[in-house]
Point group: C2
Chain length 688, copies 2
């Protein structure tokens, strides 16, 4: 009665072929696949690679990359057939910038994606798009993010219908390339300290934009050095006051044209400089801007959270400057979601390359026997296997974040907004910091061959590096997470509601801050250590304890030194608290993912990875657990042994686990990271 698996596969395969056709005709005038003849053979390879259920990792693939195949596949397919648009290993900044722009145009004009529509209507797909183009080149991912998340997103989210009408389509189709001019030479993290001014001139009904001093130079502005026509400029809104002097209404956002639509020359009063060569992301043209009495119409104020009338009277739906500022920045939270997801993509790619090479490379061995594959060395496992576990862990956590973001956009619920704000800050910081370290570890783990540019670790590390800084410096964002936790802590005692993500804290506080149970602290059997209840308990205990002690210390120190100094005295403590909380959320989401996996082998693989993630983190912070006697010495040793054992067990299925990420060889590109023939490909590349 039921169709056989093979029949279903055939059907599914045919549907994918059709969907590729449909997608191409739906999204663009000309199909991106060229002639139909060309399509069918190439496509069948593609589809084979994706659908073959014989591969043991397929169940996992369906849980990870499979969800957004409709985004990934057309992009991978397009670049496979346009090698001239794939980045060469070495290129000068200027060439890189032009290539990136051509790639971005291809995404929009040739493949037919409508990124601004996705951003506003289907954010989950938009984030998948960012991750997918990041596999081509991270500069492309960031260029896309600058154009759509930042420039487009600021116009749409901070502006009103008049802005949408005027700009949406032209931003979408790249007729209006634009910038997001927030950061200044002297101010990055402290956005409230920005010094650029926008003074309302009642006589002409205009704002006059000025850079009052060197420190107010807009700096690091993506798209500014070469391609940008417009910028959303963040500036202090100055209103002529009735009394003498002007009123500073705080930071607002304004659309400022930068270059002539005809000649592309900078407009009068706009000084543009090239920020020059960077550590990475040299496909993005960052520039510096100074404004000298640049006049823009009053309509160019992005007026969702604050407006100025023809008479120069200020109005806002929000009561205080702080609330307006928070609402303005709150609209930009999508950028962080995208960075967290993109960073997980980088981690998957790097782990794939490093693990495949470590399964190929042999070095040393027992006397008179073949040399040993280096992934069989305990030290190599210790470097790479917890990283593999983390890449799965982070995948499920960022997937959850994306879901919450979509929910936030749908419901506009205050509680969800607060939750997404803290969660995106925390995950962005934690994941990007972890990936950055991992990229160095991968390079080292692959020795000399990891140092060849063609094997990608260098460019991935250099490009990804700044993920830790932009869209909110990690150290600053983690403090926001800590501040949010402290707010939740206060609420608990006041009996208020807790948002979903932090709910565990209430329970934890009651349970875990009492005496530890000496029987439990000594239990060291594998069954107990691999019990998700023990693992969650350990993570939550630590977070709850750090939270309670932080609150007490802060209360005491604030009395003595004031709140700013008190915060600074506790800063390391607060950062640890924030990380501990994020690790807890990640573990929760991982445990849920294990639970919902229906495939037996897939589930057992995920369970291995999840246990490794949990126990490795506990072991990394064993000092804290020992200090509280939450874990007795025998248990600490057992955890350490089990981490090494789990690394060994995961290593046995490592090939399947990286294959399940399904990053095709032609996209991964690193010869040492290919599925086969690595050495000969590597030799050929240098001309043998």
């Amino acid at each position: 009665m039921a169709a056989s698996i093979s029949d279903m596969e055939k059907l599914q395969k045919r549907m994918l072929v059709l969907s590729l056709h449909l997608r191409s005709s739906e999204l663009q005038a000309e199909p991106f696949l060229g002639t139909n003849t060309c399509m069918s053979s190439a496509e069948s390879e593609l589809v084979d690679e994706v659908l073959s259920t014989n591969e043991p990792g397929n169940a996992l693939y369906k849980m990870v990359a499979g969800k957004h195949r409709s985004v990934y596949e057309p992009i991978f397919y397009f670049f496979r057939h346009h090698p001239e648009l794939v980045n060469p290993v070495e290129m000068l900044k200027d060439d890189h910038r032009e290539l990136t722009m051509r790639q971005l145009k291809a995404i929009v004009h040739d493949i037919g994606f409508k990124p601004l529509t996705l951003l506003t209507e289907d954010p989950a797909k938009y984030f998948a798009l960012t991750e997918a183009v990041g596999h081509i080149d991270l500069s492309l991912g960031i260029k896309l993010g600058v154009q759509y998340s930042l420039w487009g997103g600021s116009v749409i989210n901070l502006g009103t219908q008049k802005h949408r009408d005027k700009y949406f389509d032209k931003i979408q189709n790249l007729e209006y390339p634009g910038c997001f001019a927030m950061t200044e030479l002297h101010h990055g993290s402290n956005v409230q300290g920005l010094q650029t001014t926008a003074t309302f001139d009642r006589d002409t009904d205009e704002f006059v934009i000025n850079t009052p001093n060197e420190g107010a130079t807009k700096w690091w502005i993506g798209n500014a050095a070469v391609h940008g026509k417009f910028a959303t400029v963040f500036a202090r809104l100055i209103l002529p006051s009735s009394s003498s002097g002007n009123a500073d209404m705080g930071v607002h956002a304004f659309i400022v044209p930068l270059r002539s639509m005809q000649t592309h020359a900078p407009l009068p009063g706009v000084e543009i400089r090239d920020c020059g060569y960077k550590v990475g992301l040299n496909g993005v043209d960052n520039g510096a801007l100074r404004f000298h009495n640049v006049r823009i119409p009053r309509d160019n104020l992005l007026n969702k959270f604050g407006d100025v009338s023809r008479e120069g009277v200020y109005s806002s739906p929000l009561p205080t400057p702080n609330k307006r500022f928070a609402a303005t920045l709150g609209e930009l939270v999508g950028g962080r979601v995208g960075l967290a997801a993109g960073s997980v993509g980088v981690l998957k790619a790097a782990a794939t390359i490093a693990i495949r090479y470590s399964l190929l490379r042999q070095q040393f061995g027992p006397p008179n026997k073949p040399e040993t594959v280096i992934l069989d060395y305990q030290s190599q496992q210790g470097r790479l296997i917890p990283m593999l576990a983390s890449s799965y862990a982070f995948h499920f956590a960022t997937e959850y974040l994306v879901d919450r973001y979509v929910e936030m956009k749908r419901t506009r619920d205050d509680e969800v907004i607060a939750d997404v704000h803290a969660l995106s800050a925390g995950l962005k910081s934690y994941v990007t910091a972890y990936t950055a370290k991992s990229l160095s570890i991968c390079r080292e783990a692959c020795g000399g061959h990891g140092y060849a540019a063609v094997n990608r670790f260098g460019s991935l590390r250099n490009d990804h590096d700044i993920f830790q800084t932009f869209e909110g410096d990690n150290t600053v964002l983690l403090q926001q997470v800590a501040a949010d936790l402290l707010k939740q802590f206060k609420k608990k005692f006041e009996g208020g509601a807790l948002t979903v993500t932090w709910k565990y804290l209430r329970d934890s506080m009651g349970t875990y801050l009492s005496q530890t149970n000496p029987v439990v602290t000594h239990r060291d059997g594998e069954g107990h250590l691999r019990d998700p209840n023990f693992q969650l308990d350990a993570f939550r205990y630590r977070t709850a304890r750090l939270l309670q002690t932080a609150a007490l210390r802060l209360r005491k120190l604030t009395k003595q030194h004031g709140s700013f100094e008190a915060w600074n005295y506790c800063l390391n403590h607060l950062l640890t608290l924030a990380e501990s909380h994020i690790e807890t959320v990640i573990l929760e989401k991982f445990i849920e993912a294990v639970h919902r996996c229906e495939d037996k082998t897939g589930k057992s693989h995920l369970k291995l990875l999840c246990d490794l993630y949990a126990l490795d983190r506990i072991w990394n912070d064993i000092g804290t657990y020992r200090n509280q006697d939450y874990v007795a010495p025998n248990k600490a040793k057992a955890i350490h042994r089990l981490v090494e054992q789990l690394c060994h067990e995961v290593r046995l299925v490592a090939t399947e686990l990286v294959d399940a990420f399904k990053i095709p060889d032609y996209i991964l590109r690193a010869p040492i990271g290919l599925k086969s023939k690595q050495y000969s490909e590597y030799s050929q590349i240098i001309g043998f």
Copy 2:
């Protein structure tokens, strides 16, 4: 009676001026300083920068960089006046390679250094030279190392007088640029697994060099892609045996001409390919080599440890292949010493840039007050201040290593040889790994401006990265340290002699492995924690304990699984042991340096740094200390608090501490790391 300080200064200053003259006339035909007029003004600036005793950090300067002023100053001076030879921020690989060669020629021909003479007669000065040129560009440091330490060093140390006579001068003056062709595509760390062959042909009295398969391709050979005329090729020596078949005598070194002295074309049978663009060090031209029946005279065998007679009979002063192999590699230990010293130089430069910027940059602050300098944030101190302490710690440790190396070269004493071997392996690994991580931390700590290529963290990180891999992969070298410790452990029980560096182990074993004293484990006063005896005790206790448990585990596991598997089961344990030992040696040398500092302020600064180094390391591994109850919970907390307090205290003198490294602004080059006017310099660089 005695000359006043001011008189002495004037005298000293005059002497430096003279010494610069003398040096230039002594070392070269034409003085490098151009006309005398030009000299006197420029020189006085230079001398001022170096000698002004008003600077509080001067006593420290004398203890660190001051020792090798005669090497540093001519180099810094030369490049200051030859900006056309200083690396631009962005350049293509091919241009970079040519610039590096021109820089190297300038060091030899214009400034007049004789690196091969220094390497053989005054190694301490040679290592200072490597560190100094590394401040110009790390590619230059490595190119110099390839030419002199590796190519020159292999000819001189593995060859005999006939080789010295023929090659010394032409290597020195760069007439014979050469390579060190050891690594193959399939074999890096496992040198005994190399597969290139050198078969003796009795008929022609030649060796025939062959690459028997793809995996035996020589890979990553510095100087090979563009400049090299010769290579020291490591190949299996094959002798026609009296019986059927040939005898494989193991890996030996041979001088093989690569390119025509006239046309520079590759010689017949020599295939050369370019390894291409790398993560860093693109000023060094790494190539791949294949040999097809390349014939070289018998004299080209570097025959210090093994020779072949006209009749094809093998002879050696050393009894076994293993001893010959060890002696061959042992001669190459100088490279590691150089890398350790060079890596400390990189750490000093990076710490200087990051700390100066963190003292300039302000962000956020208490309400209605000026913004706070970011080095005043506890989190920023936690990132950068222990790094500053480590750069001092590593300086004294590598200085000790250089002294031991010099002693080894002088005495040829077996015990010193073994000591230098393990110490260089350990320090090279530990220091380069620490510096690599620190470079990422510095970039992050400097936020967006840390991402501008001009601020140097990107190139420093990319160039330095491979220090962890070449001249012995860190993971492999640390295992050699662990193996050496285990040998010492065995000796202890057999009552043999212990080399100087490891002597503490014998005492530690007896004292520390008995019960810990509960009174001591609870002592948490600052006086006690800052007592070097407590600190040393803690470091030694940990090493001794790790050593004893490793020995016991290995003994047990070897019985069950054989020695190879047993070693692998304990691998993480053994790596931790090696690191713990190296940290102990570093602490000892730091404590000695504090002790011998005669200047009162200097001594108190060093003491602060030394305590911070010690306590920060203990805190980082607090889990181990708690697990053994070596440290009680109250003491653990006190250590943590004291680390934060010491960070704060060091921060107050941080300017003096980085100034004492005396890397001149024009050498450091990063605008954000200058002594003053950082922002305006930075603005000017991009064209404002």
